[in-house]
Amino acid sequence: MAMKDIVKITADTISLDEIAKSVQDPKAGAISTFSGTTRDNFEDKVVKTLAYEAYIPMAEKSMKSLITAARSKWDDLIHVAIVHKIGDCPVGETSVVIAVSSGHRQQGLEAVHWLIDELKVQVPIWKKEVYATGGPDGSDGGEVWKANSSLP
């Protein structure tokens, strides 16, 4: 059985449905997914949009290494896909999708959790939050590069 490792960084809108379909397999009893979506708030500020940028070739290499590492930790994984959006990502839009098919549920669920945790720590992708101006929260707009917490 050919196992697929799918990684993609794209400026297009990303579709959970399409990515989940890309990991379907007749041997799979389970498909586990995680989608990151843009929230409308950060602390007391109203977020208007996020913009992502990536060191694309290194990010793709890093995502492939994560999949290889996951396969060495969990031997029941079938296909694994990691897709990350770059560019603008307005509120409600999906910035990242991870999808894993597995024979049984346990390992697929654990792998998805581990992959998104590691992606947030290791993969060279950056998020800039652009805040709304003149909102009811009295914020004065502006933008800031975020940093992911190194805590799990």
Binding site: G36, Y52, E53, A54, Y55, P57, M58, A59, K61, H84, S95, V96, I116, L119, K120, V121, Q122, V123, P124, I125, W126, K127, K128, W145, K146, A147, N148
Partner: protein, 84 residues
């Protein structure tokens, strides 16, 4: 004459005002020397470098280990990541 390339991302790009540029290569450019070269050219990078990592040819470099830049290497300044 040999060179190496430096890529700037996120806050490092804002601080340097550039996405990438060439530096003249010479023997013995490790973590400390590289930091010094970058800050000489872009003083605003100083605070950014305090929290950034270097990647050389798309591999993170450990700040504790000794490594040096080679001619034609691609060095990247990697501020704290925030993908996901």
């Amino acid at each position: 004459m040999s060179h190496f390339k430096v890529l700037y991302f996120a806050s490092a790009k804002d601080a340097s005002g550039k996405e990438s540029e060439e530096f003249e290569w010479f023997e013995g450019i490790g973590c400390e020397k590289l930091t010094q070269l970058l800050v000489e050219r872009h003083p605003d990078l100083a605070p950014v470098l305090k929290t950034s990592m270097f990647a050389v040819n798309m591999e993170y470099m450990d700040q504790g280990l000794s490594w040096t830049v080679q001619p034609r290497d691609e060095v990247a300044v990697i501020p704290p990541v925030s993908g996901g």
